[in-house]
Symmetry: C2
Subunit: 246 residues, 2 copies
Amino acid sequence: MSIANRPLARKLGAFAVLSEDELTVLEAMHRRRRVYSPGQDMIHQGQERHSAHVLASGWTSSYKLLPDGRRQIVDFQVPGDFLGLRSLLFRTSDHNIMPVTRIEASEVSIQDLLRDFNRVPRLAAAVLWAASRDEAMVVEHLVGVGRREPRERLAHFFLELHARLRLVGLATATSFDCPLSQYHLADALGLTAIHVNRVLRGFRETGLMRFQKGKVEFLDLAELVRLAGFDIAYLDQEEPLLSAAL
Amino acid sequence: MSIANRPLARKLGAFAVLSEDELTVLEAMHRRRRVYSPGQDMIHQGQERHSAHVLASGWTSSYKLLPDGRRQIVDFQVPGDFLGLRSLLFRTSDHNIMPVTRIEASEVSIQDLLRDFNRVPRLAAAVLWAASRDEAMVVEHLVGVGRREPRERLAHFFLELHARLRLVGLATATSFDCPLSQYHLADALGLTAIHVNRVLRGFRETGLMRFQKGKVEFLDLAELVRLAGFDIAYLDQEEPLLSAAL
DNA sequence: CGTTAATTTGAATTCTCTCAAACTTCGTGG
DNA sequence: CCACGAAGTTTGAGAGAATTCAAATTAACG
């Protein structure tokens, strides 16, 4: 894969046009690549020594568990996303990360990151931007769970995923592959899988969208955006903020 | 107020013991202090030029609005907290910030911050730690709204506030002043104010805790912690209950 | 004081969950 | 290649929790 087409480079490209040097450093971040399998935590709550990763392919989920087993999925990560970046400064990780599919990811230590930041300072801003964007997504997620109806919530969820995947070249204008189960959706959106199923059936029957066999298809994108009240601004991914000159 | 006793210094002190130099820089952050009144936004969604602030006294809320007026409060800020730190790298602010009480806050520009980081590098780590902690609170908030029952949710909410206020010396072992209305609680916790009222009545009647006339009193802290499943680890602040000075 | 904001209570409704079970898909091993 | 089991999806019925609507009471503030 050519450097500039890697999901991470594409994503950070939405913040700033990247130079050859910067692209090279990003490429180097993928050096220590490893494969992880679905179902086994890469990082778990309370873990003391934890590092961050860059996700090269596949999907992961970050989540927290309550003592009685209830689960809240905080976010899903798609190619180009960082894993565990936020809690890098914490003594212990405060959440779990588990692959949803088979994934390829590369470990990035805080030392690596700081060294890279020194070499190409603009990269620091880009990575912090990505971290800010991650938090903005958690905030919007909170808004959905707290104040959106289940139908709006599902619609908004799929529209966000679509925008994120489009940015890294993994979606068409009206569809994308989605490896999540209805249990994933339920635990992400504060619903039961049964109710998720019913809402999805409603979407199918009213010709809004379809989610079947690992594929999301938008049938009436405009109406979906209206229903969800989806405003992409919080993803801050319109066009690069920083010109190459900065 | 002596420098080391300022809420901001106390809070960052939970991350690292601060030197005289570092305390002096923190003190300088409070130079451009201003007073803001409750009810009028300091920052609003979509605002283009926005800066961060340090809150010296009073409470604020950060929130998002849906097109039809529904409101989700993302977090409340108490003395020592930053306002709008997260979206500093964004083109436009993605949320609103409004004082809950009369407040004193000082503007901190990104330039100021970067200059200070150069002068005292450890401060950068401390501020990033504070930002990570803020995000951890949003995540825990999401867990509450998504997967905790209303009773657990309220209990957890008050326990978190208590821990945060204790850290900056604004709470006793079992109580603190709280200027929030039941509408605030409702919009923060994804409930209606009516239901919040009923849950609070239940707490009062069962001798768990009391929230009346701007004051929160814990009557059975142990049971409350158990009910909420409250584990302070996500705040990454050691031994909050041992901070003596009130 | 008088007015507005906030809290409190009641009754009815509605939405989502729980419980139960059938059906489908998919991977694995015989 | 089929049988089997596990995981995921789908449907139904009933229960319960939180909401909506309505209104009284209390507190806050100029």
